[in-house]
Symmetry: C5
Subunit: 106 residues, 5 copies
C-alpha cells in the first residue's frame, strides 16, 4: 500500500457500467518522512474520505478486493484513513480528532 | 486509475484473435495540476472516445474487467470520459458541453 | 499496451517446462512521437514477428491471455504487429506493404 | 521480492473490513550492496517483524497469497525476515542472533 | 520478462509457510546491449541457477505459474537460464559451454 493525501475529485458521466456509483478521488502520494508529495493517482473511495485526509491506497488487483470494487475495472482503491504513523519510534503524524481537540502531529 | 488525454490511434491487422475488434487509442498521461503530459500508453477503448478528450484509464488486470476486454490480452483500458476535476476546491478542468456551449474550464 | 520495436532474440535451453516452445523476442519500447527508444523487455511472441517490426505488447497478467501463453510463467507478450499510428490527425508511421510497394510513413 | 528495512508503523481505525486486524508496517526498500535506502512502502505483516529488521516483501497479487492476506485489498506483504545475504560469495549482512551473540554482518 | 544476472543469495528462516523450500536468488537487471546493470530484485529459483549466470525472470502474477511457485506469495521467478542473445543480427552473448569449451560471446 502507499500513503497518499486526498487532494480533489474527478467526475465522469460517460463511463463503463462497471464503475457506476464510484467516487473517484484524486490523490498525491506522500513521503511519510519529508511530507513531500509525489505523483497523482485516481482511486475509488471504499471508506468515505474527504479532501486533505491522509489515506492508504492499494493498487493493482488488490484494488478489486473491496465489496464496492469487486470485479470492476478499478486499479486503485482507498482502503483506509490514516490516524497516525511513526518512524523510528517517533510519531510524525497524528490525525486531528475533532471531538477531543487533540492535535500533536508533525 | 490515471488521467490521460487521447492523442491518437494505433492500427493493427496481424494480431492475436483475442484483440480483434479493439480500438487502440494512444494516450498521454496528464498531470491534473500543471497539465504537463507524461509517457504514452496504448489503451483499448471501452467507452467510445475521440482525440483530445480527457479520460480515466485503468491498467493491469483491471483492464480486463469491462465487457469488451474480459479475458483478452489487454493491460490498459479507457473506462471513463472525464467531465471535470477539481483540486483543493478549485475546478481546474471542465469538459465543453457542445449543447450548452458552457465552458469554464482552466 | 506499449509500442515497441523488435530488436533481437533470446535463446534458452534450460527453462521452466511452462515456457517450452516460446520464442523470446527482445524489444525496445518506442516513443511514438519522437521515435526515441526506451528500456528493453523480453516478450513471448504470439503473432509471429520479425526483427525491426513495430509491435504492441501487453504486460502483467494480460500476457497470459493468449492461447500460447495461457497459465504460463510469462509477463510480456507481443499481441499485435502495428500497421500505422497517428497523433493529432497526422500519420507518423506506416508499415511498408511489400506487395503494394507503398511507403509513406514518417 | 524486494529487500526492505522496517522503519515504522501506520495506524488506521476507519478502514475497509477486509484489512481489519492487519498490522501495517512502514518499509524502506534497501539496496543490498550499498545499503542505500529507497522509496517507502506500506506492507501488511504476515510473519511478525520489528522495527529495524531486514525483510523480504512481495507486491501485487502475490501479496494476497498468505493465509492472513487471502482475498484482502492488500498489495504488499512482508513474507520473510532476512537472516543473511551474500553477493559474489561475500556475506554483506548477517542478522544478529541474540542467543549466540554472533554478529559479523557488514 | 527481463534479463538479469544472478549475483547472490538471500537466506531466511522465519518466513511465511508458503515460501518454505524456496531458494531466493539476488539478481541485477542487465541491459543486453551495454551490459550495464540495473536495480536488484530477489527471485525464487525455478530452474536451478548459479551465481553469474544470465537468466530470464518473470514478475507479477506470472511468477506463480511454475509448479514450485503455484499459489505462493512470490512475485518474481527465474524461469530460464539464457544461452545466448542477439541484437540486430549480432550475437552479443553466448553462454560458455563447459563441455565444448566454445566461447565466442561478446
Amino acid at each position: 500500500m502507499l500513503l497518499g493525501r486526498v487532494v480533489g475529485t474527478v467526475v465522469s458521466t460517460r463511463k463503463d457500467p462497471g464503475v457506476h456509483g464510484f467516487k473517484f478521488m484524486l490523490l498525491k502520494r506522500v513521503n511519510p518522512e519529508t511530507m513531500e508529495e509525489g505523483p497523482f493517482v485516481v482511486a475509488a473511495d471504499a471508506v468515505g474520505v474527504g479532501v486533505d485526509e491522509f489515506v492508504l491506497y492499494a493498487t493493482g488487483s488488490a484494488a478489486r478486493q473491496t465489496v464496492m470494487t469487486h470485479e470492476r475495472p478499478c486499479d486503485a482503491v482507498i482502503m483506509a484513513v490514516v490516524d497516525q504513523w511513526e518512524i523510528a519510534g517517533e510519531q510524525l503524524y497524528e490525525k486531528v480528532n475533532p471531538e477531543s481537540g487533540i492535535w500533536d502531529g508533525g
